[in-house]
């Protein structure tokens, strides 16, 4: 069976095409000048440039971390280009009709026909292509509700007070090596503000795509849910197939003020590299949210792509009675490596967190869960429940669990459950004996394994995630 798995794992990456869009790209290299140029092309105010330069100086003093259970060739930060924009973006399109048709075709190939989504799904989409935000649909409808959903580069101009207050407030510049780099060079991303008491009338969604060669993608997302508001946000990611590794170092900050709720879902399908581990995206992402009193943040992620993933969406449960949730499906195959999990920092009283992590490993891949649950001295009556399940396909892959618990409050309760199972020969035989072909059988079994997480995704995306798993598993048996 192992041999069959190996052979069959050599499947094509469906989103691996390159778009023929003309673009303006900086020379590779990173220094203060490059940062000034980024700031200049974006026409940024002085304070923003200062913020970037400060971060750059911090970054220069830092060292790349190496504690994760991943092994990769170190990134040459001078060989990356830090800005790339499709040329036609210079005069920003005001509506979909003005968007470069080639770009729109790209999104269609990705299965996101913007126009259709606009009409059918009622999903507002912000699409980030390489470094700039291409188009934001549904703006008007959102504006009626008072919701702000725009490229962060635009927010810098339009909502400087909100940005000055919240940018870097959840993930400080110094937080880690990649976060500091992002602060210095981020080019775009999404900004969301939901006013007090407003329930965002539709799902908000961003699609990220890296197209240009040797570019890094450093997007930055900031979501602020004001008191008593509610928002559900989804991001999707793809990249073309390239032999070189590409770096993706994003920062996402969520702020849930009193009684607010943010649901953040990710379907990540960056190019994972080929069977020998050549090429693919390095996905080094910092995601964190802060919950004020009675607030709730829920992270749901389906991670199937990238050659190396290093990602720990976290919740700082600052306010009393606040709730943090993390639901994750991470699938690795070929030579992919994923080290992912979450941090739940319980500060307030009666704070609650739930962690459900489903890791699936196939081929020669390595899949690690790394999670920290910290109960601070003031976290009276806090509770955490963690469940980590690993599923192995074949016998050349690895699954690892690294749960860290730091409890400084004796009244806090931390529960941890972990299981490891295999897609068994008995299960495969049962399915095949009923007439189901082996590929469908594996994907059905894996989907069953992930059910608890998929049910947390918005409906239309749960279907998408199921399909993505099916595609990713294509050929994982003979």
């Amino acid at each position: 069976m192992t041999e069959q798995i190996d052979k069959a794992l050599a499947r094509e990456y469906e989103a691996g095409f390159v778009s023929a869009v003309e673009s303006e790209t900086f020379e590779p290299g990173l220094n203060e000048d490059v940062i000034r140029r980024i700031s200049e092309v974006k026409g940024e105010p002085e304070w923003m440039l200062e913020w970037r330069l400060k971060a750059f100086r911090v970054w220069q003093e830092m060292e790349e971390p190496n504690w994760a259970h991943v092994d990769y060739e170190k990134v040459d930060f001078q060989a990356i280009s830090y800005y790339s924009a499709p040329k036609s973006m210079k005069d920003k399109p005001k509506s979909l009709d003005e968007v470069d048709p080639e770009l729109l075709r790209t999104y269609e190939k990705l299965g996101i026909p913007l126009v259709e989504q606009q009409m059918l799904a009622g999903v507002a989409v912000d699409a980030v292509f390489d470094s700039v935000s291409v188009v934001t649909t549904f703006r008007e409808k959102l504006e009626e509700a008072g919701v702000i959903f725009c490229p962060i580069s635009e927010a810098v101009h339009k909502y400087p007070e909100l940005l000055k207050k919240y940018l870097g407030s959840v993930v400080p510049t110094k937080d880690n090596f990649f976060a500091a780099l992002n602060c210095a060079v981020f080019t775009d991303g999404s900004f969301v503000y939901i006013p007090k008491g407003v329930r965002c009338p539709m799902e908000l969604s961003t699609y990220f795509r890296i197209n240009e060669q040797n570019t890094g993608q450093f997007e930055r997302t900031l979501i602020i849910a004001d008191e008593g508001s509610h928002v559900s946000y989804l991001e999707g990611c793809t990249a073309p197939q390239r032999d070189e590794n590409q770096l993706h170092a994003a920062v996402v900050e969520l702020v849930a003020l009193d009684d607010a709720e943010i649901k953040y879902s990710t379907v990540q399908n960056w190019y994972p590299g080929d069977e020998e581990g050549k090429g693919g995206i390095y996905n080094f992402v910092t995601k964190r949210g802060i919950c004020h009193t009675n607030a709730k943040i829920s992270w749901t992620q389906v991670e199937t792509g990238s050659s190396v993933t290093w990602k720990y969406p976290s919740c700082v449960l600052k306010g009393d009675n606040s709730i943090g949730e993390f639901y994750s499906v991470a699938l690795t195959r070929g030579r992919q490596q994923a080290d992912t999990g979450t941090k739940m920092i319980h500060i307030g009283k009666n704070t609650k967190s739930t962690i459900i992590s489903k890791g699936i490993s196939a081929g020669k891949s390595n899949n690690s869960y790394r999670g920290l649950v910290r109960m601070n001295p003031g976290a009276q009556g806090a509770r955490n429940f963690t469940q980590c399940d690993s599923l192995l396909i074949g016998d050349q892959c690895g699954a690892h669990t690294f749960p860290y618990v730091e409890s400084r409050n004796p009244s806090a309760i931390v529960e941890h459950e972990a299981t490891t199972s295999k897609v068994s020969d008995d299960q495969m035989f049962l399915c095949q004996q009923r007439g189901i072909d082996p590929e469908k059988a594996v994907s059905m079994i894996v989907n069953g394994f992930c059910k608890e997480v998929f049910k947390e995704l918005p409906m239309e995306f749960a279907v998408e995630a199921g399909k993505l798993l099916e595609i990713s598993l294509e050929g994982s048996v003979g």
Partner: protein, 261 residues
Amino acid sequence: MSNENVLLSIKDLHASVEEKNIIKGLNLDIKPGEVHAIMGPNGAGKSTMGYVLSGRDGYTVDSGSASLAGEDLLDMDVEDRARAGLFLAFQYPVEIPGVSNLEFLKVSVDAQREARGEESLTSAEFLKVAKEACKQVNLPVSFLKRGVNEGFSGGEKKRNEIMQMILLKPKLCILDETDSGLDIDAMQVVANGVNSQRSSERSFIVVTHYQRLLDYIKPDFVHVLADGKIVKSGDASLAKELEEQGYAWLQTEPKEDELED
């Protein structure tokens, strides 16, 4: 082929598991509509026969032939044998956590329909027939929502196997000790399920240790399988003799490894 009107034809079949010969010259012809009971001591190779016919990995055919409706079975993949009409009800049904019974059943039925060039049923149509099948085997409809065999009792698992058989409408059903471990009520449910599916088109191989099942499912033939081959065949009365006298009188010396289940 000796006879056109044979559904399953097994000729001098030899098969092994992990280099060990288990099936040692098996011959069996089954015509459409017939019910054949197979009895025999533990370790005789009854389950192995079912696995070899259905093509399970690790079960190697060394020589001989087996055909279903004239098609060479041994040449086909597991799923193709299933689509050709071979159904195996498992002695120990496995669980598939998180995959609902309904989804599993629909995917199975769709796969087989597709192989026959038929349209797949809509969800609503399928739900209707699935509910009907639930009733037939006396399982609450809520079992359609539960994970495949997940947390089912032994009896519920076996009834679930019969439900799958009813929905898949196979040509040849192999029931491997479906009655073992069942109380009398559950056994009757299984027997009724089988009887409801009997037709001139459909044949059965019923592997059992117990005469009592054969009181409900009246077999046309009874065979004794011992040490990898059929050592005696007869009609329903043979089962009664076996029940009374055991297998020892058949002169097969039980070897040590045949004493295990």
